[in-house]
Amino acid sequence: MDFDVILYGILFFLVGGGGITAIVMVLEVKKHRPVKMAADADMYIKAGETQMTVVEDAFLRTHTTKVKVASSNNTVKKR
């Protein structure tokens, strides 16, 4: 078996396994720590007492950047 294949297998084992485990563990631990401080009072906003009296979006200027990127023709496909 090609050395590269084994290397990729080990790499995916460590990165994939570690990543998925970290996500699952964070989700599970969060279930045990659901309590948090309220950051807003959105649930207690009075109906009909919210208003934007001024909404202004005036165009000022534009700026364009052009960056050369590798074209698909330059990619050499290994076999």
Partner: protein
């Protein structure tokens, strides 16, 4: 001074029944409606004079101040904290209202009655523990769920208007590709937003003993069910009086209200990738608060010397609490997930390489 409410039929003790939203006699099952409230209040005042209600002792300890009352019925000592306004006699199990704690400056303006019974709270608590993988076995085994108590927690309900004004520059960024080039176009706009939001009944926990984050987490409450305060609502439950003043609570209300203003602002600026604010003002006007009691089912459960309190919103049934973690279970579960997901990922990676996908 403690007092209890009496049934007009047999003289038995009355308790508020959340499921029925009325007062029921523990002895003859006679039901008393809200219309009788006035009568109850007068009765409570009368009971104040009739029952032997003596504040026996006030003692300062390392854990705070304890106050001892003499139960008006059996004469037993009722030991409680200085902030308690409603409690039970441990010997005769009768509810005891300490009227001095719900009168004068401590008299609440409003009370939100319990809607969920203790039975529902117990079920919800058991349900909450389900699916928690890292819960220590000793914690599950040592639960004293019978210690679940309905408590009226003091809150300040703030009302006011938040005015906001933001000025700055916002960028709308679009990226396209033309041949071998990636073109990024940034349109800059002058952005101005001015407005206001009105908030009503923003609750802020006024008891230093209950964790603020927990009280926040069991919100929201439906304040349309708020009633003018009357001591009969306390019967059958515990109650505390505030020990965090309105002024001390104001910064928390202020932060929450300004947070809502910020949400409103951000909602109107979603088209911009970035907004550079040159002016950002938020101020609250006409802020006022009313002192109210909100219903909470509380359970204190201890694990390895640490208290893990649970709270359930007594009106809506929303339940929350932090739970202890079993590190051994975490390691085992983590190793299992790592083994399975790592093996699957490794095989996929090796196959992708073998078939020269990359």
């Amino acid at each position: 001074m403690p007092s209890t409410l009496k049934c007009s039929n047999c003289g038995g003790d009355l308790k508020f029944t959340p499921a029925l939203q009325l007062w029921k006699c523990e002895w003859c099952d006679q039901e008393h409606t809200e219309k009788d409230l006035q009568g109850f209040t007068e009765q409570a005042e009368q009971a104040l004079n009739e029952t032997v209600a003596v504040k026996v002792e006030r003692e300062e300890t390392d854990d705070g101040v304890t106050v001892t009352y003499k139960c008006g019925y059996c004469g037993a000592e009722v030991v409680t904290t200085e902030e308690t306004s409603q409690t039970f006699c441990l010997y005769c199990q009768r509810p005891v209202t300490i009227l001095s704690q719900v009168s004068g400056t401590f008299k609440p303006e409003a009370v939100l009655p319990f809607r969920h019974t203790k039975e529902k709270a117990l079920e919800a608590f058991k349900e909450f523990l389900k699916g928690k993988r890292f819960l220590p076995d000793s914690y599950k085994a040592n639960q004293n769920i019978e210690k679940l108590r309905g408590v009226y927690i003091p809150h300040w309900l703030f009302e006011g208007t938040v005015h906001f004004s933001v000025q700055g520059e916002g960028d709308v960024v679009t990226t396209t590709r033309q041949g071998d080039y990636r073109i990024t176009k940034t349109d800059t706009y002058r952005v101005v937003r001015v407005g206001y939001i009105g908030v009503k009944d923003v609750p802020v926990d006024a008891s230093s003993k209950t964790p603020d984050d927990m009280m926040d987490s069991i919100e929201p409450y439906d304040f349309s069910g708020l009633k003018p305060f009357a001591t009969p609502y306390l019967s059958g439950f515990l109650a505390e009086r505030y020990d965090v003043s309105q002024d001390e609570s104001l910064p928390r209300a202020d932060k929450r209200c300004k947070g809502s203003a910020e949400n409103k602002l951000r909602g109107s600026l979603t088209r911009y990738s970035i907004v550079r604010r040159q002016k950002d003002e938020k101020r609250i006007e006409n802020m006022k608060a009313r002192y109210s009691l909100l219903p909470v089912w509380m359970l204190h459960s201890w694990h390895e010397g640490k208290d893990y309190p649970f709270a359930m919103n007594g009106q809506t049934g929303k339940i929350l609490g932090n739970l202890p973690l079993d590190k051994g279970k975490m390691v085992k579960f983590g190793a299992l997930i790592f083994g399975i997901s790592g093996t699957v990922s490794g095989v996929v990676g090796a196959l992708l390489k073998y078939f020269e996908v990359f």
